[in-house]
Symmetry: D2
Subunit: 220 residues, 4 copies
């Protein structure tokens, strides 16, 4: 994950505001208000639908059949697996499919998802990947970090399942593969002259992720 | 403006939260903190650049040469006139072109503009127009309302020029023409079954406009 | 398939030039020159890659999660099944994956696929579906017609496998489902005022399909 | 025009088939059948409408306000000037606006225009520019070549006006500016690894231009 690491290092302040957000901290300790988590869950479901669209856009924008396949895996992961898992998780928190599908999208959900979709449509596959990266790879970093720090006390933690999902090998591999895919695309499309714009894109996406946590926190 | 009037009536709460926002009220009385206005002005410049892109998207999405011409007028109005007027206005408030072009886009600016661009790209010309309408026609309504209510006290109002611009006949005509253009498109593309989605689009755009004022207000 | 039937009836001349093309006739009798079929097969593979992109665009453009799922089925059908079947079929005709993937796209392949992709991007989901319909539903009609007319003599026909694929229940069901999906979308988005443009789109796509057969025929 | 010159050199065969096409030759000698020219003129009008959309897409896809302005100049040149000039020219050849606007797009017109629009939407601004270049810069090269070779005998040539338009300084400057704009974009976005795909894009666009002349020739 060379390009990702570089962009993360360049945006260290924005990145920290996202992966070390108070919401994340309270997920780990289990202190996060349940109403915050519920609000987050619903918005994250609406978010995933838009992310499936972003991966579908990736298929459309792919310069090679191999890139198309990689994007398709992303669409399938969300539409064939994650959305159902999410509904199950929501059900265990007392929310029905109707509650969720009828919930209005929050401004923070709109801001991040449309920013990604639009950056991807206006730019090339690399722009799309860089806009998606803070979410896809960031969740792996957050999940792993929480599992390492709070692994011994997860049994009493109401957010155990969430932490296990994102620290688990399935998600970790998916994120690692995504990082490798960015590097493959960067191998063809990256120039030094593009870096300032990609850096801005990455930093903005990280800020919008932090705003998303903040939205959850303020819902309590 | 039949479709616009209908959508506005259906979204009356969201519409009021936008056109009767505290920011608008304080523009009229002149009490708006200058720091709020300055922050707004800069973000509005960044907003206009995205709106020029949205009008350009309108050219691309136009089903007829006549629609292409209508969209092109929108691009020209922004790129050949409004951006320069905006820079002049900014200069009179002590901000240089560099200050403005280098300012980071606020989350609220991103949320509204990318929402519009994305709704337009994913849908048809009517979706794009409905997403643009709260801005284009709303500003005419706000400008006219402020001129009517505060017209006698504008001379001492630091925001006189802004109010005159949007209450002036040039902008009023532009907005009226835009409303007629929506109706022409609706004449071909509107079905009753689409109304719930268009209503949602319109209401959401109105909310995002209200958020934009709120951003200005909180910048003081 | 109400909208499809209507559009087909309106474009009866263009439709006949496509589904009753000499290429189709010779597929049925087995008289088609093998060089024509080989050329067709290679171009059809390149065509399918673009159609997978068109279905992916369908996901992006879907107004509901249900539409997203329907589009995704189309992407999967091509990328997870049809492309491999196609390579197998090509192998049985002596062509390797490399031969195929390195073949240049013919002008006729470009014309039809880019026309569909562009109509779908500029318009809405209904435009995309109408542009795709002549291919998806037309192949089912052609396959069924050939099986009915030549079913008793297929054993000696070198194109037996092709005819069986498109006359088989899997493909017939896929096409019927596509027709029902168009009607569902039309139920929300169709107006009488749109019909002339949809008719033009459908007729043009049918002509471009006829050109595609002609390209095959002329390759002998 | 460094990138353009390189791509042209790499696609020398396809380039020659376009700029040295029999249609071009007969324009210069004045021997081109008038029915060929009439057919060409009508299709070129329909072509220009799509090219205005492609330039509008350029505004949408522009990474900087400067790029937006450059694209806007292209839209204006077509929509505010060239389309009217074209109608005038058509009128002098006995064709009315109605004749032209109601003419069906030929397959060759569709192939080239949708190829450009789609390459631009799927890729980045550089892809769009490379797909547009054979038309924009090629016409300048053709016009200049014809004026140099046949300048002394233009008075009796029925295609004098066409040759003068494209050999004139207005068009020559526009094309030179476009070449400089490509280089500016290439300065940020070009990598050696992209060259094979850009070369393919350029060669294909050149072939589709040659097909466009051929369509005219065969219309006699």
């Amino acid at each position: 994950m060379h390009l990702f690491s570089r962009l993360k290092a360049d945006a260290s302040g924005d990145w920290a505001s996202y992966v070390e957000h108070q919401f994340v901290h309270e997920l780990g300790t289990g202190e996060l208000p349940k109403s915050s988590f519920r609000h987050y869950l619903v918005q994250d479901y609406l978010f995933l639908i838009q992310f499936a669209r972003a991966y579908a856009l990736g298929i459309y924008k792919s310069p090679t059949p191999q890139d198309m396949r990689q994007s398709l895996e992303g669409v399938k992961a969300i539409m064939d697996v994650e959305l159902d898992l999410h509904l199950e998780l929501c059900a265990s928190w007392g929310m029905s499919r109707e509650d969720i599908e009828n919930a209005p999208e929050a401004a923070q959900t709109i801001a991040y998802t449309r920013f990604v979709l639009e950056a991807g449509m206006a730019g090339d596959l690399l722009d799309l990947q860089v806009a998606l990266a803070p979410c896809i790879i960031g969740y792996a970093e957050i999940g792993k970090g929480l599992a390492e720090k709070h692994g011994q006390t997860l049994d009493g933690n109401p957010y155990k399942r969430w932490i296990e999902e994102y620290s688990g090998s399935t998600y970790q591999n998916l994120a690692a593969e995504f990082g490798a895919w960015i590097d493959a695309t960067a191998g063809v499309y990256l120039t030094e002259a593009r870096v300032p714009r990609l850096r801005k894109l990455f930093a903005k996406a990280s800020q919008l992720e932090a705003d998303f946590w903040q939205m959850g926190l303020e819902a309590s």
